[in-house]
Symmetry: C2
Subunit: 274 residues, 2 copies
């Protein structure tokens, strides 16, 4: 891994994630997208719909100075949508109606009114709430739902708040976040692939992986047992972040050849498909 | 929520969770099981296979003094299985071969040798590694795989390290962790249920939920939009933690009746199935 690689942290807000009601697919989705762009995901944190919990998680993450800090959830109209309150508290900024965000929300409800054949949907406090952003924030258009995303540049960190509804989160990410990630990631490329080993125990594979990683310092190799130690079927996952796709693939190819030979010499069998 | 409720934090270790390669089903599984026993999950943290990252996450979590701190992943025989190293560093304890753990590992490999028709599987350093625990730790038998789980009592926190392979994690949890959680949870019971509202926007529902929660202070109500704001279909999720199942159900029943009436008076439709 080289020093130029940018880091990202993800904070997911929602009691439903902490009770196990909802599987955290948002974190995986963002992690995968960011990783594919050569950005390293350093930490994922899940906290409840509580202003102090959110504020603490934000403060702690900012202290670690990631280049990006993305939150999901808690941007909607209900009382327990507290992410912006938490961010405001963490940054010691006031929440105020952001005129640009209010216009976005107004336009959404005008469109809903038109679609529903009614004259006008009133901007009640819960609706205005979605346009109350921390001072200095920039709203990000929501192509799918109502609540805008939010971007705040805090010293060297881009802090971006996205909704929890996956389709809305993904749409804002693609429309307003990807270009920023790509710009910062520069030419970094992440490449990964897996091979599979049978007939060798993970504990026997361990020193062979050690040797291969030692000889291929930019390649990360991790074994994932899919069978049991006594009847081993092991996924061996290779990954690297490099300056170009060619460099990445060359590096990984070299490591795969070396490890495959070591495994076969120990009586293991290598497959390229699971 | 009452003050007697015990808290748990979950730390998941693994680069594959941070690259998005693997969906974090372990966190959801533990969260669901702990919640069902009346224990509140306060935070879920995902960190990489790095001793310092693990140690920092452990130290930070311990400072928040949860009753339980459960880790998943990083207990195996390979170089990047660093959870016990991270825990040892966080607690400022040495790693040492634990005789009880070594016996467990020895028995596993004896059984594998027998099953494989070979005389004996040698205890190489990667295999002995799985029995190197922080001083004062207690190994927990692994009914499915090789690496034992680990329990360390740190002041008022039960720190429990479980493997990352789901079947192994779940088996150790059921065999050695559930009874401890139940004992500490006491009589607390978590109960949850959902109803569904059509024909009412989430932003219109918000003040009705506010009123119902105000009148039912122990019931937590959260709306989850499943359609769009312009064509709303909303899950309304009710939950409570109480001293008995009867109290929990009575509380939630009362809140459902009140909110359903408020929604219907606003022109919304209530369904009990999605």
């Amino acid at each position: 891994m080289n020093k130029m690689v940018q880091q990202i942290e993800i904070i997911c807000v929602g009691n439903e994630l902490l009770t196990g009601k909802t599987l955290n697919t948002n974190a995986q989705w963002i992690a995968k997208r960011a990783t594919s762009m050569g950005i390293v995901v350093k930490r994922i944190i899940v906290v409840s719909d509580d202003t102090d919990e959110i504020a603490n998680a934000i403060k702690e993450a900012l202290q670690r100075k990631p280049r990006f800090l993305i939150t999901t959830g808690g941007l909607g109209p209900t009382f327990d949508d507290k992410t912006l309150e938490g961010i405001a508290k963490a940054l010691n900024r006031r929440l105020e109606v952001n005129e640009k965000a209010l216009k976005m929300v107004r336009q959404k409800y005008d469109a809903y009114a038109k679609a529903g054949g009614i004259e006008r949907v009133e901007l009640t406090p819960p609706r205005i709430k979605m346009a109350k952003l921390p001072e200095g924030a920039e709203p990000l258009p929501n192509p799918v739902g109502t609540a805008p995303g939010v971007r705040i540049d805090v010293e060297k960190t881009f802090l971006i708040a996205l909704p929890g509804v996956p389709s809305e989160m993904e749409a804002i990410f693609e429309e307003s976040v990807v270009s920023l990630l790509k710009r910062e990631a520069g030419k970094a490329v992440f490449f990964e692939t897996s091979i599979y080993a049978d007939n060798i125990m993970e504990s026997s594979l361990a020193p062979l992986i050690d040797k291969t990683m030692h000889d291929n310092p930019y390649v990360y190799i991790k074994s994932h047992p899919k069978g049991e130690e006594k009847k081993p079927h092991i996924e061996i996952h290779f990954s690297t972040t490099a300056e170009s796709s060619k460099i990445a693939k060359d590096r990984i190819g070299k490591a795969i050849i070396q490890l495959s030979e070591l495994v076969q010499r120990s009586g293991g069998k290598i497959k390229t498909l699971s």
